[in-house]
């Protein structure tokens, strides 16, 4: 009898423990955390001494880059990105290559409840031989590592759909949009391009949203469709282009200006800001309600890290 009681208590305890929400190191419940926050996508960092501060003629050299996905995309094994190394004289570093190729693993997922810190990967670049041309004593070389990767921003602001904003008699409205419209300020969405503001206006037959986006990261936004050439073959025609998709639950095909597709993307200005203006139909119902405005931005992003190293000729 006592054994059964103990067994029952044990089972109940196990059930309670397994059903309680997971907590992270800080004690907060993981499911409570909003992973769609922050302005970073990838973060690149050279590992200590790889490359070293000084290299000597005749040596080989390794660069190890730690790549961390600190944004919120992707949540499946679908990461699409590559690394490039450049900035140096190709006569100085000979026989160079990425171990395992230049592509970043598709498994580099963003932050989520299953991966609270985001994915992490190390990539190694090997140089067979460092040379010092023409007997030069010592000179500097800057090594730049650039990551070019596809990324996505998902913003889901809660907006008020008030088909009859002028009707002042309905005091039980869930939400209202006044005559001058309504503005929703947004923070960041766990990506280097953020939806920063949404302005809503309602006309007699349509609902209009002006959506402002901004490059809030430190890198460059490039066209989503330039996978092969990115980043070394790109010129100024390929930058600051963002594709966008904007939907309401009852209308998934608004008329947008620009269209937000490949042929007519949002163009960011010198300050990194851009706007898309979308016009939706009014819903069949005349009652006001709150709903999610689904905004998805697609683009490629280029982040860089560099290190200056000194090449020393010891054969001199």
């Amino acid at each position: 009898m006592r054994f059964r009681v103990i067994l029952a208590i044990l089972l109940i305890s196990l059930t309670v423990i397994s059903c309680s929400p997971n907590r992270n190191r800080e004690g907060e419940r993981i499911s409570d955390r909003d992973y769609r926050q922050g302005t970073k996508g990838l973060e690149l960092e050279f590992m200590r001494n790889a490359p070293p501060d000084r290299v000597y003629s005749g040596d080989d050299m390794n660069l190890i880059v730690e790549i961390r996905n600190l944004g919120a995309y992707p949540t499946t094994d679908s990461f699409d990105g590559r690394l490039e190394v450049y900035g140096y004289d190709e006569k100085v570093f000979q026989g160079e290559r990425w171990n395992g190729g230049p592509f970043i693993s598709p498994t580099l997922q963003g932050r989520s409840q299953f991966s609270p810190e985001g994915g992490r990967e190390n990539k190694e670049f090997h140089v067979d031989k460092v040379t010092t041309p023409f007997g030069s004593e010592a000179f500097k070389q800057r090594i730049i590592v650039a990551a070019c990767y596809k990324y996505k921003t998902i913003a889901q602001p809660l907006v008020c759909i008030d088909p009859e904003p002028q009707s002042v008699f309905d005091e039980s409205k869930v939400c209202t949009v006044d005559r001058n419209g309504k503005t929703y300020a947004l923070g960041s969405q766990g990506a280097p391009v953020a939806v920063t503001r949404v302005e809503e206006e309602i006309s007699s037959s349509n609902i209009h949203f002006s959506i402002e986006i901004k490059n809030v990261g430190r890198g460059k936004v490039v066209d989503e469709n330039v996978r092969k050439e990115c980043p070394l073959g790109l010129d100024f025609n390929d930058v600051d282009r963002v594709m966008a998709s904007v939907k309401l639950p009852y209308d998934s095909s608004p008329k947008c200006q620009p269209k937000g597709d490949y042929t007519d993307p949002i163009r960011l200005d010198e300050s990194g800001r851009g706007t898309i203006f979308c016009t939706f139909k009014k819903p069949p119902s005349k009652s006001a309600f709150e709903t999610v405005l689904q905004i998805t931005l697609d683009y490629r992003y280029v982040d860089e890290v560099y290190k200056d190293i000194e090449v020393i000729n010891i054969d001199r």
Binding site: Y86, G87, K91, F134, F139, A146, K220, L232, D235
Partner: protein, 322 residues
């Protein structure tokens, strides 16, 4: 206890000073405007009584960066007053004729930052002088003629995208290079660079203007006839040869295949300085897929150089000196 603190302070001071002085690996060898230097080792004006002998020493030192090979040193005396009797030479020096020597000297190295030197000495015999005079002031002169190289080695930024069309960040910013000296009497003072679109699409041509000055105390002579200049046979030359220019995969050779066209070469003096322009040939244009990069630039100049020094020797009348 006080002594202990003083000791610590002293150790800290010594450590702080180390590295900035001579012998630090960070010191550049290619600095200074001297090549071969020569001087008489003396204390005041040497005197010799007529009919007697006087021994004197010279210091010849290669204070520059290049190797001096088969240099010629010629000693001149007023033969009716002082007659060169003999040389007393260290092993590496060779007597060429009565009054001339040949020698080789290495320049500055990490192991010897002051350059190699030799101390040859010579003996002169004072001839009888006019009885009516107490003394005669006689000059002894020395000329040294040698071939030398100036080796300019600085980092050059090759900006293959001067109009900023590409989005890739640049690893360096193109700018003119200024320098004061390279461990040689002839110095490259400035290298200006310009980049132009080539006739071949998607490629660029680089042009370098190189400014050179004779900063040393000597004169330029023909490197092929440098010995003549010391023997009084030489004609004025006053030109410098650009023998090499190299960066990355591109190079210019005075004799042989080149990616550049450089003119004028030999480089003539223009006002105070010498200027040569080197332009990458069309067929060697830099392709546009090459991104901006920094690279060591090497420029080698070749010339002959002549330096001189002299000393006054007083020859005293034997009877009057008593």
């Amino acid at each position: 206890m006080k002594k202990f603190y003083l000791l610590i302070i002293a150790v800290m001071l010594v450590s702080a000073c180390r590295g900035s002085g001579e012998g630090s690996l960070d010191d550049k060898l290619q600095t200074g405007i001297d090549g071969l230097t020569l001087k008489f080792l003396k204390n005041g004006v040497p005197e010799v009584i007529e009919g007697n002998r006087l021994s004197m020493a010279l210091e010849i030192r290669n204070e520059g960066f290049s190797y001096i090979e088969d240099s010629l040193l010629v000693l001149y005396t007023e033969k009716d007053v002082l007659k060169l009797e003999k040389w007393d030479l260290p092993g590496r020096l060779r007597v060429n004729s009565d009054n001339s020597l040949s020698f080789n000297l290495r320049g500055k190295t990490l192991a010897n930052r002051k350059g190699e030197f030799e101390l040859p000495s010579f003996t002169v015999k004072a001839e009888k002088i006019d009885e009516s005079r107490n003394k005669i002031e006689s000059m002894v002169g020395i000329n040294a003629c040698y071939r030398y190289y100036t080796i300019f080695s600085e980092s050059l930024c090759i900006d293959t995208d001067p109009f900023g069309r590409k989005i890739a960040s640049k690893s360096c910013k193109a700018k003119d290079i200024s320098s004061s000296s390279q461990g040689a009497p002839v110095a490259i003072t400035k290298v200006e660079q310009s980049i132009f679109p080539a006739e071949t699409p998607d490629s660029a041509i680089i042009e370098l203007n190189i400014y050179i000055e004779n900063k040393g105390k000597g004169i330029l002579i023909d490197p092929e006839k440098y010995k003549d200049a010391c023997l009084g046979k030489g004609q004025g030359f006053n030109s410098i040869l650009l023998t090499k220019l190299k960066f990355s995969w591109y190079e210019y050779n005075y004799e042989g295949l080149s990616d550049f066209e450089c003119s004028p070469n030999p480089i003539e003096q223009r006002k105070k300085e010498y200027v040569v322009r080197c332009r990458l040939k069309e067929e060697s244009a830099i392709p546009s897929e090459t991104l901006t990069f920094e690279t060591p630039l090497l420029i080698e100049l070749y010339y002959g150089y002549k330096i001189s020094d002299s000393i006054r020797i007083d020859v005293l009348n034997d009877e009057r000196s008593n």
